[in-house]
Amino acid sequence: MREFGYQRAYDVSGAVALLDGDPDARFLGGGTNLVDLMKTGVERPALLVDVRELPLNRVESTPDGGLRIGATVTNSDLAAHPEVRRRYPALAQAVLAGASGQLRNMATVGGNLLQRTRCGYFADVTSPCNKRVPGSGCPAVEGEHHNHAVLGASDHCVATHPSDMGVALAAFDAVVAYETADGPGEVPLADFYLPVGETPHLETVLPPGALITGVTLPPAPVAAVSRYRKVRERASYAFAIGSIAAALDVHDGRVREVRLAFGAVASRPWRARAAERVLTGAPADAETFAAAADAELARAKPLPHNGYKVTLMRNLVVAVLSELAEEATR
C-alpha cells in the first residue's frame, strides 16, 4: 500500500472540494472494499477523503410515498429500517444476504453501488485484467469463469457486479443522486452502469470527482410483496452465484405488475425487463414464469463453465415468482 493523505469531510460541498476531481484521490466510505483493494494494490490512491461524517446517514420518506436513502447510511441501518422492511422487504432481504454483520455495519449505500467486482483476476495485480489495466487482456474468458457473467458481458470482460443491495434497488427503479463541483445531479440506476463493451474499466456514468449523496426509491406498492433469494456456495458470508429480486402483484390470476432483477450474472445488477414484458398481463402460473425467464435468458452467452447460471436463474425465476404468486393471492 502506498502512502496517502487523509482528509475528513463534514459537508458535501467540502468533500467534493477536498477531492477536487483528483484522479488519484478516492472518497472513503465504510472502506470494506476500498481498503481491501488498497492492500492488494488494485487501488493506489494518493489521497482519501473520508465521507463517513457527512450528514447523509438518514432514511426518509418522500412525500409521494417513496424513500430517500442517504449515501452514508450503513447496510445495517438500511436493512433494519422499518419503512424499508415494510415497503421494500426484498431490499432489506438483499442487504441482509450480503457480507456479514460486521461488514454491514461498516459498508455504506454509496459505496455498495461503487464496489468493484470480486473477479479473482481483477483482485490479483500480477494477473492481466482489462478492468484494472486496460488492454492487458481477460484471462477469465479462457480460464476460471465458473462465477462470471452470462449476460451483457463482452470478450473484454466477463466480471460480475457483486452487490446484493443493488439488485433490489434495480428492481425498484432507484435513482442515484450525486454532487459535483458544478452542482447536484441524478441518474436512474438503470442508466448508472456503463455497458462493458471494450471499456470495462469505465464502470459508471458518474462525472469525475462526483460524490454519491443518496438513492431515491420511488413509491412501489408492488414491492410490498417482494423477495430476494440468493444462491451461493456456502449458506452465508459468500458472494452470490445467482440471485433474484422479485415483486409481484396478481389480480384475477393474472400478473398486474412485476419487478424482476438478477444478481451475479452481469457487470451490473440486471433488470430483467424482457421477462417483465412477458409476465405483465399474463397468467400467474409456472408456465408463464418459465417463458418469461426464457425470454430474458435468450440473450445469455454462457462460457464453457458458467452455463449452469442460465439454468439456475430460470429455476429461480420460476421458484420465487411461484412463491410470490401464492403469497399475493393469499
Binding site: 479473482g120 484471462p139 476460471e144 456456502r234 449458506a235 459468500a238 452465484i241 449452469y308 439456475l312 429455476n315
Partner: protein, 704 residues
C-alpha cells in the same frame, strides 16, 4: 469429607488456558513484543517456472524505513541435506534464496525488511523482480496416471494381496467408479508467523508451529548450528492441521535477524499461505469392488493419483485408507504421484484417509445399493478377523459397536433405502452413513515432572496445543498419575528447551506425551516419601519413552467411527444443506470429554466442509491458485454447520498406559462420504467429485 483426587481423566474440564483465550490475554506468535523489532515481508514469484534474472533491490533500499532486501545473491547459505525429526528430508522450499530457479508460482524470491510492516509491505510490492519465464505444467487429472510413480510416504505406496482379475471376474457384482477431490488448504485462523533474534549467543524463535523440537532441529540443521543453541517457543498456536512445520517464514526471519542483528518478524499473508503453507493434493481415485450377491467382498482395488512439486516428493496416500478396513481375497491398493510445477503438498488433517475414505466409503455405498443390502449391514458382513492385508491381530476394533450405537441414535432403522422419495417444500431429504478409521501410533517423547516445595507439581513436556486441548489433557493425566487434584498441576509446553517430544500430528500427540508424563509422574510419586519436606528446588523426575514405545508389539492399531449425515438438497438451485450429523467413535480412552467432543465434531465439520465447500482452483495460464483468499476458498461458516453430535463407545487401548488412541483426525474420516451418500439418498444422483457444488447438483439433476 474426602477430596476425590482420582479420576481426573474421563471427566469434563474446561481448558486450563481458557480464561486467557476468552479475555484476549493469550499471546500467539506475532504478539510477543520485542524492542527494536523489524518487519520482514516475503516477495513471491509471479511466474510458475523459470529463473530469477535480476532483483532490482537498489530502488527499494531507498524507500522509507527499508533495512535490507534478501535474495538469492546475498542470502546466507543454508544446508538442506539432512533428515529431520520426522525421518524425511526438508521440502527445498525452506532452503530460501539459494539459487535462481523458480519451480512454482509463489516461490519465495526475496525478503524485504523494514522498520514497520507498512513500509515493508509497500517496499515488497514495489520490488521489481525480472524472470526468464519457462512453460509450466500444472494440469492435474486422472489421465496423467501413466506419468506417475508409486511413492511410499507415511504408508507404503503399493500393497497387493491375491489375484485381482480372477476375483473380480468371479464376483456377482462389480462397482467400478472414479472419484476426485480438489486441492484443499489448511487455512488455520492464525497465519504462520515467526520472530527470530539472537540472545546471549543463542538463536531464539517465537513461532506458531506444531512442534518446537521439530522446528528447532530443522533450523539447527539448515543453519549448521549446535542444536543446543537454538530455542523455539510456541505457546499458543492458532490452528495447524498439518501446515505448521518448518516453513519459509521462520527461515527468512532467522536469516534477517542474523544479518541485521536485531529481532525480525515475518508473518505470512493469507494470500501467501496459498503458496507457502502446504496443502492437500488433489486426488483422482479409482475404486473397484467385486462382491458376491450378498455384498461379501472378493476383490478390493483402490488406486489413487495425487500431485507433488517438481522439487520434492510428497504423496497423499489415499489408497491406504482401506488396508485395515475390509476383508477381501484380492486386496490391491496403490498411491502414485505426478510431478507438476506446483508447491509441494503436505500433511493435512487425516492425510490419505480423508480423501481416500471419501472414495472408498462412497464405493461401499454404491455396492450396498447394487446388492440391495443396507449400507451398515454391508460393512458388518465385511468385518475382518485380522488385518485384511497384514494378517496382524487388531489392537481393539469396535467399528461394529460404533455402527450399532450410531444407528440407534440416528434412527437408521426407520430409513427407507429408496433414493429421491422424501420431499419437504423445495428440499429433497436423504441420509447417509460411512465408516471411519485412523491409525493409532505412539512416538518417543521425554517429560519432566517436578514436585514443588509448595505442594504443587510442574510438568514440563514439549507438547504443542494447537487447539486440541493437549495442555488440559496432560494436566489431567499428570494429576491422576500423581494422585492429586488437577488444580495442583501446572503444565509447561511449547518450548524446545523442555526437551524432545513428538509433534502435534498424526493424532499421536496426546498419546505420546501422556505416556511420557505418566511415566515420569508415576516414578515421582513412587519416590516421594509421604510427609517428607520437598527441597526448595523441588524434586524432578524425567522420562523418556523411546524404549517402551519401541517395544510395542506389531498390531493393527486403529481408531474407528461410524458417521451419519442427513442432508436437504434443492434440485432447482443445487443448494445442499446438512441438517444433522452424528459420529460415534471408538477412539481409545477419552481424557477430557468436553474438549474431545469438540475436537471430534470439529473433524466432522471438516468433512462437511470438504464435501460441500472446499476447493482451490489452479489457473492454467498463471499456474497459481485462483482467488487465493478466504472469500475465494470457502470453508464452512456458522450457517453451514447444523447441530452435530459426537460420542464414543468404551474402547481403551490395551497397549497404552492411559488407554489413549488419539482423536485429532478420525472425525474427518468418512464424514464427506456420509454427506455424499446422503446426497445420493436425497436425489438419486451419485456425486463422485468434491465439492458437491450447487452447479454440479443443478446440472446432475435429481428426482425433483
Amino acid at each position: 469429607m474426602t477430596t476425590a483426587t482420582r479420576g481426573a481423566v474421563g471427566t469434563a474440564h474446561t481448558r486450563v488456558e481458557g480464561l486467557d483465550k476468552v479475555t484476549g490475554a493469550a499471546r500467539y506468535a506475532a504478539e510477543i513484543p520485542f524492542a527494536e523489532l523489524a518487519h520482514g515481508w516475503l516477495v513471491l514469484s509471479t511466474v510458475a517456472r523459470g529463473r530469477v534474472r535480476a532483483v532490482d533491490a537498489e530502488a527499494v533500499l531507498e524507500m522509507p524505513g527499508v533495512l535490507t532486501v534478501l535474495h538469492h545473491h546475498n542470502a546466507p547459505r543454508v544446508d538442506s541435506d539432512y533428515i529431520g525429526l520426522l525421518g524425511v528430508p526438508p521440502d527445498p522450499t525452506v532452503a530460501l534464496f539459494q539459487h535462481d530457479r523458480v519451480p512454482h508460482l509463489g516461490w519465495p524470491v526475496a525478503l524485504v525488511v523494514a522498520e514497520t510492516s507498512e513500509q515493508a509491505r509497500e517496499a515488497a510490492e514495489t520490488l521489481v523482480v525480472h524472470y526468464d519465464r519457462e512453460p509450466h505444467d500444472i494440469a492435474f487429472s486422472a489421465g496423467r496416471e501413466s506419468e506417475a510413480h508409486a511413492l511410499d510416504g507415511h504408508a507404503p505406496a503399493v500393497v497387493e494381496k491375491g489375484d485381482l482379475a480372477d476375483r473380480l471376474a468371479e464376483s456377482a457384482v462389480v462397482v467400478d467408479a472414479e472419484y476426485t477431490t480438489p486441492e484443499e488448504y489448511h487455512n488455520p485462523m492464525e497465519p504462520h508467523a515467526a520472530t527470530a533474534r539472537w540472545e546471549g549467543g543463542r538463536l531464539e524463535v517465537v513461532d506458531s508451529n506444531q512442534g518446537t523440537s521439530w522446528v528447532a532441529g530443522e533450523l539447527a540443521n539448515l543453519f549448521s548450528l549446535d542444536p543446543a543453541s537454538v530455542r523455539v517457543r510456541s505457546e499458543h498456536v492458532g490452528g495447524g492441521f498439518g501446515s505448521k512445520g518448518v516453513r519459509a517464514h521462520q527461515v527468512a526471519a532467522v536469516m534477517a535477524a542474523t544479518l541485521l542483528q536485531r529481532p525480525v518478524r515475518v508473518v505470512m499473508t493469507r494470500r501467501q499461505m496459498f503458496s507457502l503453507a502446504g496443502y492437500r493434493s488433489p486426488t483422482a481415485q479409482r475404486v473397484r469392488l467385486g462382491a458376491d450377491a450378498d455384498g461379501r467382498l472378493r476383490a478390493l482395488e483402490h488406486r489413487s493419483l495425487s500431485q507433488t512439486s517438481a522439487v520434492h516428493d510428497f504423496v497423499e496416500p489415499s489408497a491406504a485408507a482401506g488396508r485395515a478396513m475390509y476383508a477381501a481375497d484380492a486386496h490391491h491398493t496403490a498411491s502414485r504421484v505426478v510431478r507438476l510445477d506446483v508447491p509441494t503438498p503436505t500433511w493435512m488433517r487425516a492425510p490419505g484417509e480423508a480423501p481416500g475414505s471419501f472414495a472408498l466409503e462412497s464405493a461401499l455405498d454404491e455396492l450396498a445399493e447394487r446388492c440391495g443390502v443396507d449400507p451398515i449391514e454391508l460393512r458388518l458382513r465385511n468385518e475382518p478377523e485380522v488385518g485384511p492385508v497384514s494378517g496382524l491381530p487388531f489392537g481393539s476394533r469396535n467399528l461394529i459397536a460404533c455402527f450399532r450405537e450410531g444407528a440407534r441414535r440416528f434412527g437408521w432403522a426407520e430409513r427407507d433405502p429408496r433414493p429421491g422419495v422424501r420431499r419437504e417444500g423445495r428440499w429433497l431429504l436423504g441420509t447417509g452413513t460411512a465408516a471411519a478409521s485412523f491409525p493409532v501410533m505412539a512416538m518417543p517423547s521425554t517429560a519432566a515432572v517436578t514436585a514443588e516445595a509448595d505442594g504443587t507439581f510442574t510438568v514440563g513436556i514439549n507438547a504443542a496445543d494447537i487447539g486440541t486441548g493437549a495442555r488440559t489433557a496432560l494436566t489431567l493425566v499428570a494429576a491422576d498419575a500423581l494422585d492429586v487434584p488437577a488444580d495442583r498441576v501446572r503444565v509447561r509446553i511449547g518450548d524446545s528447551d523442555l526437551g524432545p517430544a513428538m509433534i502435534a500430528g498424526g493424532s499421536t500427540g496426546t498419546r505420546s506425551w501422556s505416556w511420557a508424563v505418566r511415566t515420569a509422574a508415576e516414578e515421582l510419586r513412587g519416590s516421594l516419601v509421604p510427609g517428607a519436606d520437598i527441597p526448595p528446588e523441588g524434586v524432578t523426575v524425567r522420562s523418556n519413552t523411546a524404549e517402551a514405545v519401541g517395544a510395542l508389539a506389531q498390531k493393527e492399531r486403529h481408531s474407528y467411527g461410524a458417521q451419519f449425515a442427513e442432508v436437504a438438497v434443492d434440485p432447482t438451485t443445487g443448494e445442499v444443506r446438512v441438517r444433522r450429523m452424528l459420529g460415534v467413535f471408538a477412539a481409545g480412552r477419552i481424557v477430557n470429554p468436553l474438549t474431545a467432543r469438540n475436537q471430534l465434531v470439529g473433524g466432522m465439520v471438516w468433512g462437511l466442509s470438504m464435501a460441500l465447500h472446499e476447493e482451490a482452483v489452479r489457473d492454467r495460464a498463471s499456474g497459481g491458485v485462483y482467488g487465493a483468499d478466504l472469500a475465494g476458498y470457502h470453508v464452512a461458516a456458522h450457517a453451514d454447520v447444523p447441530h452435530i453430535e459426537a460420542d464414543w463407545v468404551d474402547d481403551p487401548d490395551p497397549d497404552d498406559p492411559v488407554g489413549i488412541k488419539g482423536i485429532g483426525e478420525v472425525g474427518i474420516v468418512g464424514a464427506a462420504a456420509a454427506v455424499a451418500n446422503a446426497v445420493w439418498h436425497a436425489t438419486g444422483v451419485r456425486h463422485r467429485n468434491l465439492p458437491i457444488r450447487p452447479d454440479r447438483v443443478l446440472l446432475a439433476g435429481g428426482r425433483a
